[in-house]
Subunit: 365 residues, 2 copies
């Protein structure tokens, strides 16, 4: 099976096998070693000296933790969004009472740092900026560095949704002064879903001290106090810690620069392959994501049928479009455990499936 | 290893092995079947026709979900607590702005239904009652049936923490008119931690419609809407669903009455064994829990040393006391995957370890 949706991504065998290990006491020495070892390795991939808390939750739980631990009801925040996940981050903040100024970019385009600058200039009372690094719903990776610089120039708190980018696309947390960065185990990490990893800068801890949004399960201060003794406040998903531990070893063997280069290479290969078929990319190619490629549905084709055919005849699982993009795009993920041979298989499958649904690949194929 | 802490509990081999299965698309047909099958089986163990939502979170996340989906800030709630977990449930409600009337019982004693009755009579404006079925911190199981009858007599919403009881101690959700019942996968279910299961009655859904506490990750209405199409709103911990699915099959093979009887039998055996040593039980024996036995630390003994010795020399992992009970008790869990031979081993280990720390087992041994 070629599982090519943007999470859950496939796990290596040793990661899956690690979960057959029996449970341990989460207040005992084995878990202490495990939690501290995983945290140390996470810091390498996050490129941070700050704290990292690992929560038993999916990425959305991590977004909620970022918001409720740093903000108070009534705080004005700027949401920089170019898709479903940017909108979700903003909605979390709104649900907890923040006043959200939504800076929306056309889906398929990246956020424009100049517009972010103008918003920060015209809303001096903004406390924090929420931004998505990689927008999975449209296949766009925002140019995060200049946005970070700008947010810091205006001395604002910077919360970054890096759920689908971290460990696959370069994001030097400390160098770019990101205050809270959120990722999730089922994306670039090659581990199963169920853990959200959240980095917290000193500045974010300062914000935490005065933040009044209600929180209990996602209380990061409590998570930090327990991590200091190698524990979590609530019972952790032990097998997922086993899995992440092994997955991180795999990442360290490959090395971050090689991981980034592999994702870049396979993304190019995917885009070129798709274009050779005469299909069109949905995302602005200057900001096309290295972890997921969104492809416009050919005129008149039913995406559900295409996905069904690919799955049943070729064992290839692709994602459809979300919300208003449903039916209009399909998405090929190349995130985490993926190599050139995998993507060859996907492209071959597509080249065979498309004509069966009435689309003739371009003659140049 | 005899892992005898009240969660994580040991998992059967087939449950552990199930997690080596590769990830699947959580928006696809396989996960749909899995989610619906697991939900169907959960309803049997919960003894409910109502809804059950399975959240990627530990039990505490389930407690939070129960509170924030049914209450509004300012709502008056009655907390019936006889230990750490009862207090925690109350604190969750307080953090989100409820006005909590705390009815506290001495640790080691059970909640007195008459006192619950008096509180309900003197606070007619109470909207909901929070009660813990099995208080793991003290080894007490509350007599839930009369409390439920009383809460319903006063027509209040009834939220039950059954994290450590469900699937081990009888709790007929519908028959006892429980509105929200919370459990967690690492307890009686013989599955790993990371999933919270929450049942929701029609009455709880009515409360949900007007409840204004903020919620996003734990939004049960959204969870229900997605479950109706065999999905979860956010990426679920897929391997834990695999595990719970297999664990539920094991429970159904044994059958609920047999499971309850086994827990009852092994609990009696544990209590008798401990008393034969001349040790004292911490909990009121009339309400002693069938899933965990709290034992008073013999005068002058260091619990940490006892636990260390048991672990290192006998491979037995017991729990200490929590909060003000730290040092004063140790706890032997007999929850989930446990049989007489396991408990024989634990008792034998204790009989060998205790004298080494200066305690002479009673002559009657």
């Amino acid at each position: 099976m070629q599982l090519r949706v943007p999470g859950p991504t496939p796990c290596p065998d040793d990661v899956l096998q690690s979960m057959t290990r029996q449970m341990v006491d989460h207040r005992g020495a084995e878990f202490m070693d495990l939690a501290q070892r995983v945290t140390r390795k996470l810091k390498g991939i996050f490129q941070t000296q700050g704290d990292i808390l690992t929560l038993t939750a999916s990425g959305t739980g991590g977004l909620e933790a970022a918001v409720v631990n740093t903000l108070s009801p009534g705080d004005k925040v700027l949401s920089v969004s170019c898709g479903v996940f940017g909108d979700r981050f903003a909605t979390v903040a709104e649900k907890y009472g923040a006043e959200v100024v939504r800076l929306r970019f056309e889906w398929g385009k990246a956020a424009d740092p100049d517009q972010v600058h103008r918003m920060l200039q015209s809303h001096m009372d903004i406390k924090a900026v929420l931004v998505t690094h990689n927008e999975t719903s449209t296949g766009v990776t925002n140019d995060l560095a200049p946005i970070c610089r700008m947010v810091k120039e205006f001395d604002k708190l910077l919360l970054v949704d890096a759920v689908s980018s971290l460990g696959a696309i370069d994001l030097p947390t400390d160098e770019w002064s990101c205050d809270v960065v959120i990722s999730a185990s089922q994306k670039g990490w090659m581990a199963p879903p169920g853990l959200a990893m959240v980095s917290v800068s000193q500045r974010a801890w300062e914000a935490e001290r005065s933040a009044t949004m209600p929180r209990f399960y996602f209380d990061l201060n409590k998570a930090k106090a327990f991590l200091d003794k190698g524990q979590t406040p609530w019972t952790p998903a032990v097998p997922l810690f086993y899995a992440l531990d092994v997955a991180l070893d795999g990442m360290n063997v490959e090395g971050l620069p090689n991981i980034f280069a592999r994702h870049s290479r396979i993304a190019s290969m995917t885009r070129e392959g798709v274009k050779r078929f005469g299909l069109s990319l949905f995302a602005d190619e200057d900001y096309a994501s290295n972890v997921v490629t969104a492809v416009k549905t050919p005129e008149g084709m039913n995406v559900k049928e295409l996905r069904k055919l690919l799955k049943e005849e070729h064992g290839i699982v692709l994602a459809g479009g979300q919300q208003k993009l449903s039916g209009h795009i399909f998405r090929i993920a190349h995130l985490g455990l993926v190599n050139e041979a995998d993507m060859e298989q996907v492209l071959t499958g597509l080249s065979l499936a498309l004509p069966k649904l009435g689309f003739s690949p371009d003659k140049t194929l």
